[in-house]
Protein backbone atom coordinates (compact mmCIF):
# COMPACT_ATOMS: atom_id res chain seq x y z
CA UNK A 1 0.00 0.00 0.00
CA UNK A 2 2.80 2.36 0.87
CA UNK A 3 4.31 1.62 -2.52
CA UNK A 4 1.08 2.45 -4.29
CA UNK A 5 0.88 5.77 -2.51
CA UNK A 6 4.47 6.56 -3.23
CA UNK A 7 4.08 5.88 -6.92
CA UNK A 8 1.30 8.46 -7.04
CA UNK A 9 3.20 11.13 -5.19
CA UNK A 10 3.16 14.35 -7.20
CA UNK A 11 6.94 14.63 -7.38
CA UNK A 12 7.28 11.35 -9.24
CA UNK A 13 4.77 12.42 -11.82
CA UNK A 14 5.87 16.03 -12.06
CA UNK A 15 9.21 15.32 -13.76
CA UNK A 16 7.88 13.17 -16.59
CA UNK A 17 4.84 15.45 -17.07
CA UNK A 18 7.12 18.46 -17.37
CA UNK A 19 9.36 16.63 -19.85
CA UNK A 20 6.31 15.63 -21.91
CA UNK A 21 5.08 19.21 -21.99
CA UNK A 22 8.46 20.35 -23.29
CA UNK A 23 8.46 17.57 -25.89
CA UNK A 24 5.01 18.58 -27.14
CA UNK A 25 5.89 22.29 -27.26
CA UNK A 26 9.27 21.81 -28.95
CA UNK A 27 8.24 21.50 -32.62
CA UNK A 28 5.91 24.49 -32.31
CA UNK A 29 8.64 26.65 -30.82
CA UNK A 30 11.43 25.36 -33.06
CA UNK A 31 9.50 24.72 -36.23
CA UNK A 32 12.27 24.92 -38.83
CA UNK A 33 12.71 21.66 -40.77
CA UNK A 34 16.22 21.27 -39.38
CA UNK A 35 15.07 21.70 -35.78
CA UNK A 36 12.13 19.32 -36.18
CA UNK A 37 14.43 16.81 -37.84
CA UNK A 38 16.78 16.95 -34.85
CA UNK A 39 13.77 16.51 -32.58
CA UNK A 40 12.65 13.45 -34.53
CA UNK A 41 16.12 11.92 -34.33
CA UNK A 42 16.35 12.60 -30.60
CA UNK A 43 13.04 10.84 -30.02
CA UNK A 44 13.97 7.96 -32.33
CA UNK A 45 17.30 7.36 -30.60
CA UNK A 46 15.72 7.77 -27.18
CA UNK A 47 13.34 4.99 -28.23
CA UNK A 48 16.20 2.81 -29.49
CA UNK A 49 18.28 3.46 -26.37
CA UNK A 50 15.32 2.70 -24.13
CA UNK A 51 14.78 -0.56 -26.00
CA UNK A 52 18.49 -1.43 -25.70
CA UNK A 53 18.36 -0.60 -22.00
CA UNK A 54 15.96 -3.49 -21.31
CA UNK A 55 18.58 -6.00 -22.40
CA UNK A 56 21.82 -4.10 -21.87
CA UNK A 57 21.00 -1.97 -18.85
CA UNK A 58 18.65 -4.11 -16.80
CA UNK A 59 19.71 -7.63 -17.78
CA UNK A 60 23.34 -6.54 -18.25
CA UNK A 61 23.75 -8.29 -21.61
CA UNK A 62 25.78 -5.77 -23.58
CA UNK A 63 24.71 -5.84 -27.20
CA UNK A 64 26.61 -4.20 -30.02
CA UNK A 65 24.29 -5.75 -32.55
CA UNK A 66 20.97 -3.99 -32.11
CA UNK A 67 21.11 -2.74 -35.70
CA UNK A 68 19.96 -6.27 -36.62
CA UNK A 69 16.60 -5.63 -34.97
CA UNK A 70 16.38 -2.11 -36.40
CA UNK A 71 17.14 -3.44 -39.86
CA UNK A 72 14.71 -6.33 -39.45
CA UNK A 73 11.92 -3.89 -38.60
CA UNK A 74 12.78 -1.60 -41.50
CA UNK A 75 13.06 -4.37 -44.07
CA UNK A 76 10.04 -6.37 -42.87
CA UNK A 77 7.55 -3.50 -43.05
CA UNK A 78 9.05 -2.15 -46.28
CA UNK A 79 8.92 -5.52 -48.04
CA UNK A 80 5.37 -6.11 -46.84
CA UNK A 81 4.45 -2.70 -48.23
CA UNK A 82 6.22 -2.98 -51.57
CA UNK A 83 5.47 -6.64 -52.32
CA UNK A 84 2.07 -7.12 -50.72
CA UNK A 85 0.80 -3.59 -50.27
CA UNK A 86 0.33 -4.04 -46.53
CA UNK A 87 0.26 -0.79 -44.59
CA UNK A 88 3.32 -0.14 -42.41
CA UNK A 89 1.01 0.21 -39.42
CA UNK A 90 0.50 -3.53 -39.68
CA UNK A 91 3.97 -4.14 -41.07
CA UNK A 92 5.61 -2.60 -38.03
CA UNK A 93 4.10 -5.26 -35.78
CA UNK A 94 5.16 -7.97 -38.21
CA UNK A 95 8.66 -6.50 -38.08
CA UNK A 96 8.57 -6.40 -34.30
CA UNK A 97 7.48 -10.03 -34.12
CA UNK A 98 10.15 -11.09 -36.60
CA UNK A 99 12.82 -9.16 -34.69
CA UNK A 100 11.74 -10.83 -31.45
CA UNK A 101 12.07 -14.19 -33.18
CA UNK A 102 15.53 -13.25 -34.48
CA UNK A 103 16.50 -12.25 -30.94
CA UNK A 104 15.43 -15.60 -29.54
CA UNK A 105 17.15 -17.59 -32.30
CA UNK A 106 20.37 -15.57 -31.97
CA UNK A 107 20.12 -15.55 -28.19
CA UNK A 108 19.81 -19.29 -27.68
CA UNK A 109 23.46 -19.98 -28.54
CA UNK A 110 24.99 -16.61 -27.64
CA UNK A 111 23.46 -16.18 -24.18
CA UNK A 112 25.70 -19.01 -23.03
CA UNK A 113 28.63 -16.64 -23.55
CA UNK A 114 29.65 -14.23 -20.84
CA UNK A 115 30.88 -10.62 -20.81
CA UNK A 116 33.21 -9.75 -23.66
CA UNK A 117 32.50 -12.95 -25.55
CA UNK A 118 28.82 -12.09 -25.69
CA UNK A 119 29.50 -8.50 -26.77
CA UNK A 120 31.74 -9.71 -29.60
CA UNK A 121 29.20 -12.35 -30.61
CA UNK A 122 26.55 -9.63 -31.02
CA UNK A 123 28.85 -7.65 -33.34
CA UNK A 124 29.54 -10.78 -35.31
CA UNK A 125 25.86 -11.68 -35.67
CA UNK A 126 25.05 -8.16 -36.86
CA UNK A 127 27.91 -8.13 -39.36
CA UNK A 128 26.81 -11.48 -40.78
CA UNK A 129 23.25 -10.15 -41.10
CA UNK A 130 24.49 -7.01 -42.85
CA UNK A 131 26.57 -9.07 -45.27
CA UNK A 132 23.65 -11.36 -46.09
CA UNK A 133 21.15 -8.51 -46.62
CA UNK A 134 23.65 -6.58 -48.73
CA UNK A 135 24.19 -9.55 -50.98
CA UNK A 136 20.64 -10.84 -51.36
CA UNK A 137 19.22 -9.36 -54.55
CA UNK A 138 15.69 -10.54 -53.80
CA UNK A 139 15.47 -7.86 -51.10
CA UNK A 140 17.27 -5.12 -52.95
CA UNK A 141 20.84 -6.25 -52.37
CA UNK A 142 23.45 -3.54 -52.43
CA UNK A 143 21.12 -1.09 -54.20
CA UNK A 144 18.71 -0.99 -51.28
CA UNK A 145 14.97 -0.42 -51.32
CA UNK A 146 13.05 2.74 -52.21
CA UNK A 147 9.67 3.07 -50.59
CA UNK A 148 6.80 4.12 -52.86
CA UNK A 149 5.84 7.78 -52.52
CA UNK A 150 2.21 7.67 -51.46
CA UNK A 151 -0.12 10.59 -50.80
CA UNK A 152 0.19 12.18 -47.40
CA UNK A 153 -2.16 10.26 -45.14
CA UNK A 154 -2.06 8.77 -41.69
CA UNK A 155 -2.97 5.35 -43.06
CA UNK A 156 0.00 5.50 -45.47
CA UNK A 157 2.43 6.43 -42.66
CA UNK A 158 3.78 9.11 -45.05
CA UNK A 159 3.69 12.87 -44.59
CA UNK A 160 5.35 15.07 -47.17
CA UNK A 161 4.32 18.65 -46.33
CA UNK A 162 5.66 18.79 -42.79
CA UNK A 163 7.65 16.54 -40.51
CA UNK A 164 5.37 17.26 -37.55
CA UNK A 165 3.36 14.01 -37.80
CA UNK A 166 6.60 12.03 -37.76
CA UNK A 167 7.66 13.92 -34.67
CA UNK A 168 4.53 12.94 -32.80
CA UNK A 169 4.65 9.33 -33.98
CA UNK A 170 8.20 9.12 -32.68
CA UNK A 171 7.07 10.69 -29.41
CA UNK A 172 4.29 8.11 -29.07
CA UNK A 173 6.73 5.26 -29.78
CA UNK A 174 9.15 6.60 -27.20
CA UNK A 175 6.41 6.91 -24.62
CA UNK A 176 5.28 3.33 -25.19
CA UNK A 177 8.84 2.12 -24.72
CA UNK A 178 9.11 4.06 -21.46
CA UNK A 179 5.79 2.64 -20.26
CA UNK A 180 7.06 -0.85 -21.07
CA UNK A 181 10.24 -0.10 -19.13
CA UNK A 182 8.37 1.13 -16.06
CA UNK A 183 6.09 -1.91 -16.16
CA UNK A 184 9.09 -4.25 -16.42
CA UNK A 185 10.91 -2.44 -13.62
CA UNK A 186 8.10 -2.91 -11.14
CA UNK A 187 7.36 -6.52 -11.90
CA UNK A 188 8.99 -9.85 -11.19
CA UNK A 189 10.72 -9.83 -14.56
CA UNK A 190 12.41 -6.53 -13.77
CA UNK A 191 13.85 -7.77 -10.51
CA UNK A 192 14.95 -11.02 -12.14
CA UNK A 193 16.74 -9.12 -14.91
CA UNK A 194 18.64 -7.11 -12.31
CA UNK A 195 19.53 -10.33 -10.50
CA UNK A 196 20.87 -11.80 -13.75
CA UNK A 197 22.93 -8.68 -14.40
CA UNK A 198 24.38 -8.69 -10.89
CA UNK A 199 25.17 -12.39 -10.61
CA UNK A 200 23.59 -15.04 -12.80
CA UNK A 201 24.87 -17.89 -10.64
CA UNK A 202 23.32 -16.44 -7.50
CA UNK A 203 20.12 -15.78 -9.45
CA UNK A 204 19.92 -19.45 -10.42
CA UNK A 205 20.38 -20.44 -6.79
CA UNK A 206 17.11 -18.74 -5.89
CA UNK A 207 15.20 -20.32 -8.73
CA UNK A 208 15.57 -17.76 -11.54
CA UNK A 209 15.45 -19.45 -14.95
CA UNK A 210 18.19 -17.27 -16.34
CA UNK A 211 18.07 -18.18 -20.03
CA UNK A 212 14.29 -17.75 -20.19
CA UNK A 213 14.45 -14.24 -18.76
CA UNK A 214 17.39 -13.23 -20.93
CA UNK A 215 15.42 -14.37 -23.98
CA UNK A 216 12.35 -12.48 -22.81
CA UNK A 217 14.38 -9.30 -22.35
CA UNK A 218 16.03 -9.76 -25.74
CA UNK A 219 12.68 -10.34 -27.49
CA UNK A 220 11.08 -7.29 -25.90
CA UNK A 221 14.12 -5.14 -26.62
CA UNK A 222 14.27 -6.37 -30.22
CA UNK A 223 10.58 -5.76 -30.85
CA UNK A 224 10.76 -2.15 -29.63
CA UNK A 225 13.91 -1.58 -31.68
CA UNK A 226 12.15 -2.93 -34.78
CA UNK A 227 9.34 -0.38 -34.34
CA UNK A 228 12.06 2.25 -34.62
CA UNK A 229 13.31 0.55 -37.80
CA UNK A 230 9.91 0.77 -39.47
CA UNK A 231 9.63 4.39 -38.40
CA UNK A 232 13.01 5.16 -39.95
CA UNK A 233 12.05 3.51 -43.24
CA UNK A 234 8.86 5.56 -43.42
CA UNK A 235 10.71 8.73 -42.46
CA UNK A 236 13.57 8.47 -44.92
CA UNK A 237 11.73 6.39 -47.58
CA UNK A 238 14.92 4.58 -48.53
CA UNK A 239 16.76 1.77 -46.79
CA UNK A 240 19.81 -0.35 -47.52
CA UNK A 241 22.03 -2.68 -45.55
CA UNK A 242 24.58 0.01 -44.81
CA UNK A 243 22.03 2.46 -43.44
CA UNK A 244 19.93 0.14 -41.23
CA UNK A 245 22.34 -2.72 -40.36
CA UNK A 246 25.71 -1.04 -39.71
CA UNK A 247 27.88 -1.56 -36.65
CA UNK A 248 28.05 2.21 -36.18
CA UNK A 249 24.27 2.27 -35.60
CA UNK A 250 24.51 -0.53 -33.05
CA UNK A 251 27.19 1.39 -31.22
CA UNK A 252 25.26 4.65 -31.28
CA UNK A 253 22.21 2.90 -29.81
CA UNK A 254 24.25 1.41 -26.97
CA UNK A 255 26.06 4.70 -26.51
CA UNK A 256 22.88 6.72 -26.06
CA UNK A 257 21.80 4.36 -23.28
CA UNK A 258 25.15 4.13 -21.54
CA UNK A 259 25.92 7.83 -21.79
CA UNK A 260 22.59 8.63 -20.20
CA UNK A 261 22.70 5.86 -17.62
CA UNK A 262 22.28 2.14 -18.29
CA UNK A 263 19.67 0.43 -16.16
CA UNK A 264 17.89 3.68 -15.37
CA UNK A 265 14.42 4.42 -16.71
CA UNK A 266 15.14 7.82 -18.24
CA UNK A 267 18.87 7.31 -18.86
CA UNK A 268 18.61 6.69 -22.61
CA UNK A 269 16.27 9.67 -23.06
CA UNK A 270 18.79 11.91 -21.35
CA UNK A 271 21.61 10.41 -23.39
CA UNK A 272 19.74 11.01 -26.66
CA UNK A 273 18.95 14.62 -25.69
CA UNK A 274 22.66 15.32 -25.29
CA UNK A 275 24.29 13.13 -27.90
CA UNK A 276 22.00 13.39 -30.93
CA UNK A 277 21.84 17.21 -31.17
CA UNK A 278 25.58 17.30 -30.59
CA UNK A 279 26.17 14.77 -33.35
CA UNK A 280 23.73 16.45 -35.74
CA UNK A 281 25.02 19.95 -35.16
CA UNK A 282 28.65 18.95 -35.57
CA UNK A 283 27.68 17.01 -38.67
CA UNK A 284 25.86 20.00 -40.15
CA UNK A 285 28.54 22.50 -39.15
CA UNK A 286 31.64 20.43 -39.80
CA UNK A 287 30.45 17.28 -41.50
CA UNK A 288 30.48 16.74 -45.22
CA UNK A 289 34.12 17.72 -45.15
CA UNK A 290 34.73 14.10 -44.20
CA UNK A 291 37.10 15.26 -41.52
CA UNK A 292 35.56 13.15 -38.78
CA UNK A 293 35.15 15.96 -36.27
CA UNK A 294 31.94 14.31 -35.07
CA UNK A 295 33.89 11.10 -34.45
CA UNK A 296 36.47 12.99 -32.42
CA UNK A 297 33.80 14.56 -30.24
CA UNK A 298 31.95 11.24 -29.88
CA UNK A 299 35.05 9.32 -28.99
CA UNK A 300 36.36 11.87 -26.53
CA UNK A 301 32.94 12.06 -24.89
CA UNK A 302 32.67 8.31 -24.48
CA UNK A 303 36.14 8.00 -22.98
CA UNK A 304 35.48 10.93 -20.67
CA UNK A 305 32.13 9.58 -19.47
CA UNK A 306 33.35 6.04 -18.91
CA UNK A 307 36.41 7.25 -17.03
CA UNK A 308 34.88 10.10 -15.03
CA UNK A 309 31.22 9.18 -14.63
CA UNK A 310 30.59 5.48 -15.32
CA UNK A 311 27.01 5.82 -14.03
CA UNK A 312 26.13 8.10 -16.93
CA UNK A 313 24.32 11.43 -16.96
CA UNK A 314 21.55 10.16 -14.69
CA UNK A 315 24.09 9.48 -11.95
CA UNK A 316 25.43 12.98 -12.45
CA UNK A 317 21.92 14.42 -12.12
CA UNK A 318 21.40 12.32 -8.98
CA UNK A 319 24.55 13.74 -7.47
CA UNK A 320 23.64 17.32 -8.30
CA UNK A 321 20.20 16.80 -6.83
CA UNK A 322 21.65 15.38 -3.61
CA UNK A 323 24.02 18.31 -3.36
CA UNK A 324 21.19 20.78 -3.90
CA UNK A 325 19.14 19.09 -1.22
CA UNK A 326 22.05 19.13 1.19
CA UNK A 327 22.71 22.82 0.54
Amino acid sequence: MAERLRSLRPRRVAGPAFALAIAIAYPFVFSSPVAVNIGVLVLLFALLGTAWNLLGGYAGQISFGHAVFFGTGAYASTLLLTKLGITPWVGMFAGAALAALVAVVAGLPTFRLAGHYFAIATIVVAEIARTVVRNTDAIGGARGLFLPILPTAAINYEFHETRMPYYFIALALLMSSLVVTVLVERRRVGYYLLAIREDATAARSVGVRVLRYKLAAAALSAALTALGGTFYAQYVLFIDADSVFPLSLSILIALVAILGGAGRTYGPLLGACLLIPLAEITRIQLGGTGRGTDLVIYGALIVLISVAQPGGLVALVDRLRRRLRAA
Binding site: E3, R186, R187, R188, Y191, Y192, L194, A195, E198, D199, T201, A202, A203, R204, S205, V206, G207, V208, R209, V210
Partner: protein, 242 residues
Protein backbone atom coordinates in the same frame (compact mmCIF):
# COMPACT_ATOMS: atom_id res chain seq x y z
CA UNK B 1 16.44 -45.03 5.85
CA UNK B 2 14.76 -42.63 3.47
CA UNK B 3 15.58 -39.01 4.11
CA UNK B 4 14.46 -35.77 2.52
CA UNK B 5 17.74 -35.68 0.60
CA UNK B 6 19.37 -38.92 -0.53
CA UNK B 7 22.81 -38.85 -2.09
CA UNK B 8 23.95 -42.15 -3.59
CA UNK B 9 27.26 -43.04 -5.21
CA UNK B 10 28.22 -39.53 -6.36
CA UNK B 11 31.49 -39.70 -8.28
CA UNK B 12 33.26 -36.77 -9.91
CA UNK B 13 36.60 -36.60 -11.70
CA UNK B 14 38.52 -33.47 -12.70
CA UNK B 15 40.99 -34.70 -15.24
CA UNK B 16 42.97 -37.31 -13.32
CA UNK B 17 41.84 -36.11 -9.90
CA UNK B 18 39.04 -37.98 -8.18
CA UNK B 19 37.17 -35.23 -6.33
CA UNK B 20 34.26 -37.40 -5.18
CA UNK B 21 34.45 -41.17 -4.96
CA UNK B 22 31.06 -42.87 -4.60
CA UNK B 23 29.85 -40.63 -1.81
CA UNK B 24 26.50 -41.70 -0.31
CA UNK B 25 24.51 -40.43 2.62
CA UNK B 26 21.01 -39.39 3.56
CA UNK B 27 19.65 -36.30 5.25
CA UNK B 28 16.51 -36.92 7.35
CA UNK B 29 13.81 -34.28 7.25
CA UNK B 30 14.25 -31.67 9.98
CA UNK B 31 17.83 -32.66 10.79
CA UNK B 32 21.04 -30.67 10.78
CA UNK B 33 23.72 -32.68 9.02
CA UNK B 34 27.32 -31.51 9.06
CA UNK B 35 29.48 -32.29 6.05
CA UNK B 36 33.07 -32.14 7.27
CA UNK B 37 36.51 -32.66 5.93
CA UNK B 38 39.82 -30.89 5.56
CA UNK B 39 40.29 -28.34 2.79
CA UNK B 40 40.26 -30.03 -0.57
CA UNK B 41 38.34 -33.06 0.69
CA UNK B 42 35.69 -32.57 -2.01
CA UNK B 43 32.90 -30.98 0.04
CA UNK B 44 32.20 -28.08 -2.27
CA UNK B 45 32.46 -30.34 -5.31
CA UNK B 46 29.82 -32.60 -3.77
CA UNK B 47 27.65 -29.55 -3.09
CA UNK B 48 28.07 -28.44 -6.67
CA UNK B 49 27.12 -31.87 -7.98
CA UNK B 50 24.05 -32.06 -5.76
CA UNK B 51 22.84 -28.55 -6.58
CA UNK B 52 23.25 -28.74 -10.31
CA UNK B 53 26.37 -26.59 -10.82
CA UNK B 54 28.40 -29.60 -11.85
CA UNK B 55 27.30 -32.80 -13.47
CA UNK B 56 28.47 -35.84 -11.54
CA UNK B 57 30.12 -38.66 -13.51
CA UNK B 58 28.01 -41.18 -11.65
CA UNK B 59 25.53 -41.40 -8.80
CA UNK B 60 22.04 -40.16 -8.08
CA UNK B 61 20.44 -37.44 -5.99
CA UNK B 62 16.91 -37.84 -4.68
CA UNK B 63 15.03 -35.00 -3.06
CA UNK B 64 11.61 -35.37 -1.42
CA UNK B 65 11.18 -38.76 -3.04
CA UNK B 66 11.94 -37.65 -6.60
CA UNK B 67 15.05 -38.31 -8.65
CA UNK B 68 16.61 -34.87 -9.18
CA UNK B 69 19.98 -36.00 -10.53
CA UNK B 70 21.34 -33.44 -13.02
CA UNK B 71 18.38 -31.13 -12.50
CA UNK B 72 19.21 -27.46 -13.02
CA UNK B 73 19.95 -25.27 -10.04
CA UNK B 74 16.86 -23.18 -10.69
CA UNK B 75 14.66 -26.29 -10.86
CA UNK B 76 16.06 -27.56 -7.55
CA UNK B 77 15.38 -24.20 -5.94
CA UNK B 78 11.80 -24.45 -7.15
CA UNK B 79 11.53 -27.84 -5.50
CA UNK B 80 12.83 -26.37 -2.25
CA UNK B 81 16.53 -27.27 -2.26
CA UNK B 82 18.52 -24.05 -1.97
CA UNK B 83 22.17 -23.39 -1.33
CA UNK B 84 24.47 -20.57 -0.28
CA UNK B 85 28.02 -20.05 -1.55
CA UNK B 86 31.41 -20.49 0.05
CA UNK B 87 32.53 -17.21 -1.47
CA UNK B 88 29.51 -15.07 -0.74
CA UNK B 89 27.45 -14.05 -3.78
CA UNK B 90 25.08 -11.16 -3.29
CA UNK B 91 23.66 -8.73 -5.85
CA UNK B 92 26.17 -6.04 -4.98
CA UNK B 93 24.53 -3.03 -6.62
CA UNK B 94 21.08 -3.70 -5.16
CA UNK B 95 19.80 -2.86 -1.70
CA UNK B 96 19.69 -5.56 0.96
CA UNK B 97 15.91 -5.58 0.74
CA UNK B 98 15.92 -6.02 -3.05
CA UNK B 99 18.43 -8.87 -2.71
CA UNK B 100 16.06 -10.76 -0.48
CA UNK B 101 13.00 -9.69 -2.45
CA UNK B 102 14.42 -11.49 -5.48
CA UNK B 103 14.58 -14.67 -3.39
CA UNK B 104 11.04 -14.17 -2.14
CA UNK B 105 9.70 -13.79 -5.69
CA UNK B 106 10.11 -17.53 -6.14
CA UNK B 107 6.93 -18.21 -4.11
CA UNK B 108 5.32 -14.80 -3.73
CA UNK B 109 2.41 -14.02 -6.07
CA UNK B 110 3.62 -10.47 -6.72
CA UNK B 111 6.30 -7.93 -5.85
CA UNK B 112 4.33 -6.37 -3.00
CA UNK B 113 3.97 -9.66 -1.15
CA UNK B 114 7.58 -10.51 -1.92
CA UNK B 115 8.68 -7.24 -0.36
CA UNK B 116 6.77 -8.03 2.85
CA UNK B 117 8.27 -11.50 3.03
CA UNK B 118 11.72 -10.11 2.31
CA UNK B 119 11.38 -7.70 5.21
CA UNK B 120 10.43 -10.61 7.45
CA UNK B 121 13.44 -12.64 6.29
CA UNK B 122 15.76 -9.70 6.94
CA UNK B 123 14.25 -9.50 10.42
CA UNK B 124 14.97 -13.20 10.97
CA UNK B 125 18.66 -12.80 10.20
CA UNK B 126 18.91 -9.54 12.12
CA UNK B 127 19.44 -7.23 9.16
CA UNK B 128 16.18 -5.30 9.29
CA UNK B 129 17.97 -2.07 10.11
CA UNK B 130 20.18 -2.44 7.05
CA UNK B 131 17.38 -3.02 4.52
CA UNK B 132 18.07 0.09 2.46
CA UNK B 133 21.85 -0.32 2.37
CA UNK B 134 23.42 -1.46 -0.88
CA UNK B 135 24.89 -4.95 -0.57
CA UNK B 136 28.35 -3.75 -1.54
CA UNK B 137 28.38 -1.50 1.53
CA UNK B 138 27.63 -4.32 3.98
CA UNK B 139 30.33 -6.02 6.06
CA UNK B 140 31.37 -9.57 5.19
CA UNK B 141 29.37 -11.00 8.12
CA UNK B 142 26.33 -9.01 7.03
CA UNK B 143 26.65 -10.22 3.48
CA UNK B 144 26.67 -13.82 4.67
CA UNK B 145 23.50 -13.12 6.60
CA UNK B 146 22.03 -11.41 3.57
CA UNK B 147 22.73 -14.45 1.42
CA UNK B 148 21.08 -16.61 4.05
CA UNK B 149 18.05 -14.32 4.17
CA UNK B 150 17.77 -14.47 0.38
CA UNK B 151 17.85 -18.26 0.50
CA UNK B 152 15.30 -18.33 3.36
CA UNK B 153 12.98 -16.04 1.45
CA UNK B 154 12.57 -18.74 -1.20
CA UNK B 155 10.83 -20.80 1.53
CA UNK B 156 13.07 -23.83 1.05
CA UNK B 157 12.56 -27.28 2.57
CA UNK B 158 16.29 -27.87 2.78
CA UNK B 159 19.17 -25.40 2.97
CA UNK B 160 22.70 -26.28 1.93
CA UNK B 161 25.04 -23.85 3.63
CA UNK B 162 28.59 -23.75 2.26
CA UNK B 163 30.95 -22.49 4.98
CA UNK B 164 28.61 -19.84 6.38
CA UNK B 165 30.80 -19.54 9.46
CA UNK B 166 34.19 -19.15 7.85
CA UNK B 167 35.75 -15.73 8.13
CA UNK B 168 33.49 -14.69 11.00
CA UNK B 169 34.68 -13.48 14.40
CA UNK B 170 33.92 -15.76 17.37
CA UNK B 171 31.03 -13.53 18.37
CA UNK B 172 29.60 -13.60 14.86
CA UNK B 173 29.97 -17.38 14.82
CA UNK B 174 28.03 -17.67 18.06
CA UNK B 175 25.11 -15.69 16.68
CA UNK B 176 25.24 -17.59 13.38
CA UNK B 177 25.03 -20.87 15.32
CA UNK B 178 21.99 -19.58 17.18
CA UNK B 179 20.46 -18.54 13.87
CA UNK B 180 20.93 -21.98 12.32
CA UNK B 181 19.34 -23.58 15.41
CA UNK B 182 16.34 -21.28 15.10
CA UNK B 183 15.93 -22.26 11.46
CA UNK B 184 15.80 -25.93 12.38
CA UNK B 185 13.13 -25.16 14.93
CA UNK B 186 11.04 -23.83 12.03
CA UNK B 187 11.24 -27.28 10.46
CA UNK B 188 14.01 -26.60 7.95
CA UNK B 189 16.43 -29.34 7.00
CA UNK B 190 20.01 -28.11 6.95
CA UNK B 191 23.26 -29.40 5.53
CA UNK B 192 26.27 -27.48 6.82
CA UNK B 193 29.57 -27.67 5.03
CA UNK B 194 32.41 -26.67 7.32
CA UNK B 195 36.03 -27.51 7.71
CA UNK B 196 36.13 -26.34 11.32
CA UNK B 197 35.01 -29.23 13.53
CA UNK B 198 34.29 -27.10 16.58
CA UNK B 199 31.54 -25.19 14.81
CA UNK B 200 29.62 -28.18 13.57
CA UNK B 201 29.95 -30.71 16.39
CA UNK B 202 27.64 -29.01 18.91
CA UNK B 203 25.16 -28.06 16.19
CA UNK B 204 24.73 -31.14 14.03
CA UNK B 205 22.55 -34.18 14.65
CA UNK B 206 24.71 -36.23 12.33
CA UNK B 207 28.00 -35.62 10.60
CA UNK B 208 29.52 -37.01 7.44
CA UNK B 209 33.29 -36.74 7.01
CA UNK B 210 35.00 -36.63 3.63
CA UNK B 211 38.70 -37.02 2.97
CA UNK B 212 40.34 -37.18 -0.45
CA UNK B 213 36.89 -37.39 -2.00
CA UNK B 214 35.78 -40.46 -0.05
CA UNK B 215 33.39 -40.72 2.86
CA UNK B 216 35.51 -41.90 5.79
CA UNK B 217 33.01 -41.61 8.62
CA UNK B 218 29.35 -40.96 9.32
CA UNK B 219 27.36 -40.88 12.53
CA UNK B 220 26.67 -38.90 15.66
CA UNK B 221 29.12 -36.06 16.26
CA UNK B 222 30.47 -37.50 19.50
CA UNK B 223 31.22 -40.91 17.97
CA UNK B 224 32.73 -39.48 14.82
CA UNK B 225 35.05 -37.16 16.75
CA UNK B 226 36.60 -40.25 18.38
CA UNK B 227 37.01 -42.01 15.04
CA UNK B 228 40.65 -42.76 14.30
CA UNK B 229 40.33 -42.15 10.54
CA UNK B 230 38.80 -38.75 11.19
CA UNK B 231 41.52 -37.74 13.62
CA UNK B 232 44.15 -38.85 11.14
CA UNK B 233 42.54 -36.93 8.35
CA UNK B 234 42.39 -33.78 10.40
CA UNK B 235 45.55 -33.89 12.44
CA UNK B 236 47.79 -36.34 10.63
CA UNK B 237 48.70 -39.90 11.63
CA UNK B 238 50.92 -38.87 14.57
CA UNK B 239 47.99 -37.75 16.67
CA UNK B 240 45.93 -40.85 16.02
CA UNK B 241 48.32 -42.92 18.10
CA UNK B 242 48.46 -40.50 20.99
Amino acid sequence: MSGLLEIAGITKHFGGVLANDEVSFGVPEGAIVGLLGPNGAGKTTLFNCVTGYLRADAGTVRFAGADVTAHSTAELARRGLVRTFQVVRVFTDLSALDNVLIGALLRAPDVRVARERASAALETVGLAARAAVRARDLTMAERKRLELARALATEPRALLLDEVMSGLTPREVASAVALVRSLRERGLTIVLVEHVLEVVMPLADRVVVLDHGRKIAEGEPAAVSRDRAVIEAYLGPRFAHA
